[in-house]
Symmetry: C2
Subunit: 387 residues, 2 copies
C-alpha cells in the first residue's frame, strides 16, 4: 500500500509537463538534488524500508558562531522526518510536495514568491476534506527544510523574496540581459531584485571605492539628492530597514568579488545594532545561508551613543528607551560576536546609560545636509567606526 | 508685544540662508504663496488685527462627490486658526513653522520626508520646556493644512512620500536629467519616485497602448517574468498595495497626457475595491488633490466575485470574510460613485453572498501563468471589466 502510494507520488512528479525551459548549469545541479531526493524515497520503499529523510535542524541549539570565519554556522544535528509516523506523515507529504513544486518551477523556467508556491501546492486531497496546507505558515518552514535538506538556496529553487532595496552609484551591471548603469537611474535609483545570483546578474564595470549602506529609503534619498555618491565615488544602498535577502546577497557579492569595503549608517537603537549584526554575521534562522550572505568585515559607521554630545544635538530629538529596547540591547550585548569587543560593549552600555535612542534623521535638526556633508565624511576621514 | 514677536518671526524666515538654489518656475509660484502668507500675517499685526488664517476644512462633511467630474472634491468650508486664542496659539505657531520650514527647503533646492521636516522643525522653545512638536503626528496634519491653505501640493513644498511602486514597459522618460528606457531595466523595473511632476519628469517616447496596474509586487513580477508587457505592448505598474502618491500621480499623467487607458488587477476583497476607488475618484482625506490624482476612467479588470465559478477554482483557495470585511464591503457599496452602478452593486453583493474573498495569487492554483496567459487576455478581449 505504502509502496503503491509512493509510486503514485513519483508519477505525479514526473508527469508535470516536462516543458521547454532550458536549464542553466545551476538549475541542473538543483534539479539533480531534487530528483536525488525523490529517488532515495523510491529506493527505500522498494526495499520496504521507511523512506525517512534527515533534515538538518534549524533550532538555536544547532547554531554556533565561528570566531575564525566570523559568521554564524549550522551544526550537524538533524531531525528525522518519517512517513510511517502519524504525527509526521502530513509534514512528510508536505516536504515531498514542496520539492515537487520547486521541480516544476525549474522545469518551466519560472519563479514565484512563497505565497505563490503556497497557492500552487494548496489543494484539498481527493476524497477527503483535508487540505495539503491550511495556511501559508505551514508551507514556509517546509521551504526552509528543503533548502537545508538539499543544501540549496531559496533563489536556486526559483523562489523570490521581496524587492525592497535600492542602489545608485558608479557601477554598470547586467540584470537578466539588460545592461544597467546605476549612475543614470534618475531620482529613484536601481531597484535591487530578489535574485542576484551570477547567472542573472553580472558586474561589468565599477569605479566605486566603497559602499555606504543606509537603513532607510528616506535617508538614502537625502544622500542621493546631495549626490554623495558622486562626490565620494561610492555606491549607495538601502534595504528599507532589515535588508531583504537580495540586498544582503548583493552586498556580499560586491564586497567579495569587487573588494569594496562596506560602511553601515543605521539608527542608534537596538534595531540598528541588530541590522548590523545580521549583515555582518548572518541571522540565526537563516544560519545555513551565512556563507553567502554574511560579510564579517562590514563596518558600523553610526549613529553612535556618544553622538548626542559629540554633535551637540538638542534634547528634543531624544526618543526614550522602553523596556523592550533595554532587554533587546542586553541580549545583543551578549551575542558572542559582540561579547568580546570592548568598543561594542561601551557603545551599548552608553546607550543604556543615556536611556534614549537616536534616529539618523535627527541630524536634520542641525542642518538638512549635516549627515551627508559633515557627519559621514568626518567619520570616514577619522576612520571612526566599530567593527 | 504681539507685534514684536511677529517681527522676530519674519526676521527668522528671511534670515534663513538665502542660498544658491535656482528656483524653477513652479518653485517661484510656491515661494510666492508662502511669502504671501507671511506678509498677510505681518500686515494684519501692523494694523493691530488678529493675524488669523482661514484653513479649508478637511473633514468628511466638507467633501463631496462631483458626478460630472467623477471625482471627490472639497467644499468651501474653512476653519479659522487664531493666534489670540489660547487653545489655538500652539497650532498657529506650528502652521507658521511648517510654512517657514518649506520655504527653507525651496531656498536650498532640497527635499525631505515628512519625518525629516518634523526633525527640522522640532526644538525646545528657548526659556521653556515646551517643544514646538512633541510628536510627528502633530506635524503631519499641519503639512496638510499648509497644502490646502496655499492651494499647493506636498511635492511642490519639496516634501516626498515613500517610493514604493515600480514600472516596466515601452516608455522612455527623463527623470531629473537621466534618460530612462523602462523596457531595459532588468528584473527589478523602474522604481517610481515620489515626485513625478513635469519639472522633474518628462515623457520622451511611448509605444504602449494601455497600462495594466496590479496590486502587489509579487503579481507584478509574474507579469514581468512572462514579458506580458512585450506581448501586449503595455506598461506594467504596481503600487505595493494602496499606491503611494507618486504612483497615483504618474498614472494620472500617463492617462491624461498620453491618453493611455488603465486597467487594474486587484484582489477580490474590500481592500481591492477600495484601492480601485481611490485610484478612480480620489481619497477623502486627500480630496484637495483629486484633480491631479484621480482617474475617473480607470477600469476594474478583476478579480471578480464570480471568478470562483468562472475559473473553476478549488475550495482550498477561499479565504473566509470576517466581520470587518463585511462591514467594509457594505460601506463601499454605499459610496456615491458605486451606489448607482448596478454592476458594482452586483459585484459586492455576490462577494457578500460568497462569504469569501479571493487573492489574485489564487489563480496560481490553476497554473503559474494562468493569470498572464489566460485570465487577463480573456478579460481584455471580451472588454469584460467594471467602470
Amino acid at each position: 500500500m505504502a509502496k503503491a502510494k509512493i509510486r503514485r507520488k513519483r508519477g505525479a512528479v514526473t508527469e508535470a509537463k516536462e516543458v521547454s525551459a532550458k536549464l542553466t548549469p545551476r538549475d541542473k545541479k538543483t534539479m539533480g538534488s531534487i530528483v536525488g531526493l525523490a529517488d532515495r524515497v523510491v529506493d527505500a520503499s522498494e526495499k520496504r524500508k521507511d523512506p525517512a529523510v534527515d533534515i538538518p535542524s534549524r533550532t538555536l541549539s544547532n547554531v554556533r558562531y565561528s570566531p575564525r570565519k566570523g559568521i554564524i554556522e549550522m551544526g550537524n544535528a538533524t531531525n528525522r522526518r518519517q512517513l510511517f509516523d502519524l504525527s509526521q506523515a502530513k509534514s512528510y507529504m508536505q516536504t515531498m510536495l514542496v520539492a515537487s513544486g520547486t521541480k516544476k518551477l525549474l522545469q518551466q523556467g519560472k519563479s514565484t514568491s512563497l505565497r505563490g508556491l503556497y497557492y500552487m501546492l494548496k489543494h484539498t486531497i481527493e476524497g477527503t476534506k483535508e487540505n495539503t496546507f491550511d495556511d501559508q505558515n505551514e508551507c514556509d518552514p517546509i521551504v526552509e527544510d528543503i533548502e537545508v535538506l538539499l543544501n540549496t538556496l531559496r533563489e536556486e529553487l526559483h523562489l523570490y523574496a521581496s524587492n525592497r532595496g535600492t542602489m545608485v552609484g558608479p557601477i554598470t551591471l547586467v540584470d537578466t540581459g539588460d545592461t544597467i548603469d546605476c549612475s543614470r537611474m534618475g531620482s529613484g535609483g536601481y531597484s535591487i531584485p530578489s535574485i542576484v545570483e551570477p547567472e542573472v546578474m553580472q558586474f561589468v564595470e565599477c569605479d566605486a571605492k566603497f559602499i555606504l549602506h543606509v537603513e532607510k529609503d528616506t535617508v538614502w534619498r537625502r544622500f542621493n539628492e546631495d549626490k554623495f555618491w558622486k562626490k565620494h565615488n561610492c555606491l549607495l544602498t538601502h534595504g528599507m530597514g532589515q535588508p531583504p535577502r537580495g540586498v544582503r546577497r548583493l552586498l556580499n557579492r560586491l564586497h567579495f568579488e569587487l573588494k569594496l569595503p562596506i560602511y553601515c549608517l543605521l539608527d542608534n537603537d537596538p534595531w540598528g545594532y541588530y541590522i548590523y549584526s545580521v549583515i555582518k554575521q548572518g541571522s540565526i534562522n537563516l544560519a545555513y545561508e551565512s556563507k553567502r550572505m554574511a560579510i564579517p568585515e562590514v563596518r558600523y559607521l553610526g549613529l553612535r551613543s556618544r553622538d548626542f554630545e559629540r554633535c551637540q544635538l538638542s534634547d528634543s530629538v531624544k526618543i526614550a528607551l522602553n523596556d523592550s529596547d533595554r532587554k533587546r540591547a542586553k541580549q545583543i550585548a551578549n551575542y558572542p560576536w559582540f561579547a568580546k569587543k570592548r568598543d561594542w560593549q561601551r557603545e551599548i552600555e552608553k546607550m543604556l546609560k543615556n536611556d534614549f535612542k537616536l534616529e539618523v534623521e535627527s541630524l536634520i535638526s542641525k542642518d538638512i545636509s549635516y549627515v551627508t556633508e559633515q557627519y559621514v565624511p568626518a567619520r570616514l576621514a577619522d576612520k571612526d567606526w566599530l567593527d
